[in-house]
């Protein structure tokens, strides 16, 4: 975004200029309307990782829901009452033997309809080129050590599927409500570069995961 506060004006970058030009051209040609663009932006603003966290929390407390989620991620989300148009979700489960991490090496495919917009690092050339090739090193840079006795699975989202990691429920969360559980599932836990942790008391803190 261009800051227009006093003294801070900067000319548009090449890609900002291209975006404005293309959008205005599409509106001028009648391909889209300004209202449609605004509505889509507003729709994306309402979607965020809290939704995915609620799905994870439900899977933690309800084994039948978890089984349905693993079998068909989209159908389970729709049964859960979520509006996720065009999403074809594959949910991959972390276990004591397996840790999963998601990437789109080709671009930045991400389950936007479920989690909202991806973080900038997910779209970076650094992450996309390195996590598929040296995942344990990259995860360590995020502060996550994957033990030697745990298999690492990298999922490259190359085509029509979109992915969600179902993290393991931390041990010391017995008796927690779904809301309390969802609060410790940060976005990064559902991409696979972090794992949820239970803080000392339920309701305090939000676990791992950085902006």
């Amino acid at each position: 975004m261009n800051s227009e506060e006093s003294g801070n004006y900067r000319p548009l970058s090449y890609f900002q200029l291209m975006e404005v030009s293309l959008r205005e051209l599409l509106v001028e040609k009648g391909v889209v309307t300004d209202a449609e663009v605004s509505a889509t932006l507003e729709d994306m603003r309402t979607r965020g990782p809290e939704t995915g966290a609620r799905v994870v929390a439900r899977a933690w407390v309800d084994p039948a829901f978890k089984a349905r989620l693993l079998e068909n991620g989209t159908r389970a989300c729709e049964e859960f009452g979520l509006d996720v148009p065009a999403l074809r979700l594959v949910v991959v489960e972390n276990t004591p033997q397996v840790h999963n991490v998601i990437v789109c090496t080709l671009c930045s495919c991400y389950p936007r309809m479920l989690l909202g917009l991806p973080p900038d690092w997910y779209k970076s050339g650094n992450y996309r080129s390195r996590v598929v090739r040296e995942p344990r090193v990259v995860l360590a840079e995020f502060g996550l050590q994957v033990a030697d006795d745990v298999q690492l699975r990298v999922h490259d989202s190359t085509a029509d599927m979109r992915y969600l990691v179902l993290p393991m429920r931390p041990a010391d969360t017995a008796g927690w409500s779904e809301a309390q559980l969802a609060a410790i599932v940060a976005r990064d836990c559902m991409i696979g570069v972090a794992v949820p942790r239970a803080p000392a008391s339920p309701g305090l803190g939000s676990g791992l995961g950085s902006e």
């Binding site: 074809r88 344990r136 490259d156 190359t158």
Partner: protein
């Protein structure tokens, strides 16, 4: 505990080519370098792996990128590859894997 079945996960109504590979079958990614928008990453071309899941039939992305219909749709598979076979200097566990969605027209059977 298998979580996937032999049926396509997300069936579509697109007119499609017949399904060629089965769950668990070993396949190789074609070593071909056509021009244009390709959703088969360079790093996996020429490598062999095992079909982990049938995803359904989807319009071909290299055709869609040229504003064509991408039909008939091609079956899409998730294929599991051993990292130590993909990267000569891979330093994780010997059973670490990378799983990638590959379209049928990019796959060949592997003779046992």
């Amino acid at each position: 505990m298998p979580q996937v079945t032999a049926r396509p996960q997300y069936p579509t109504d697109h007119p499609s080519v017949p399904l060629r590979f089965a769950l668990g079958e070993r396949v190789r990614v074609r070593k071909s370098y056509p021009l244009g928008h390709i959703r088969t990453p360079y790093y996996i071309r020429g490598h062999s792996g095992v079909v982990e899941r049938l995803c359904g039939n989807f319009a071909v992305p290299e055709e869609l990128a040229q504003m064509r219909s991408g039909l008939p749709a091609q079956p899409l598979y998730r294929v599991r590859f051993l990292q130590r076979e993909v990267w000569p200097d891979y330093r994780g566990r010997c059973d670490d894997v990378v799983e990638i969605e590959i379209f049928q027209h990019w796959l060949e059977p592997v003779r046992p």
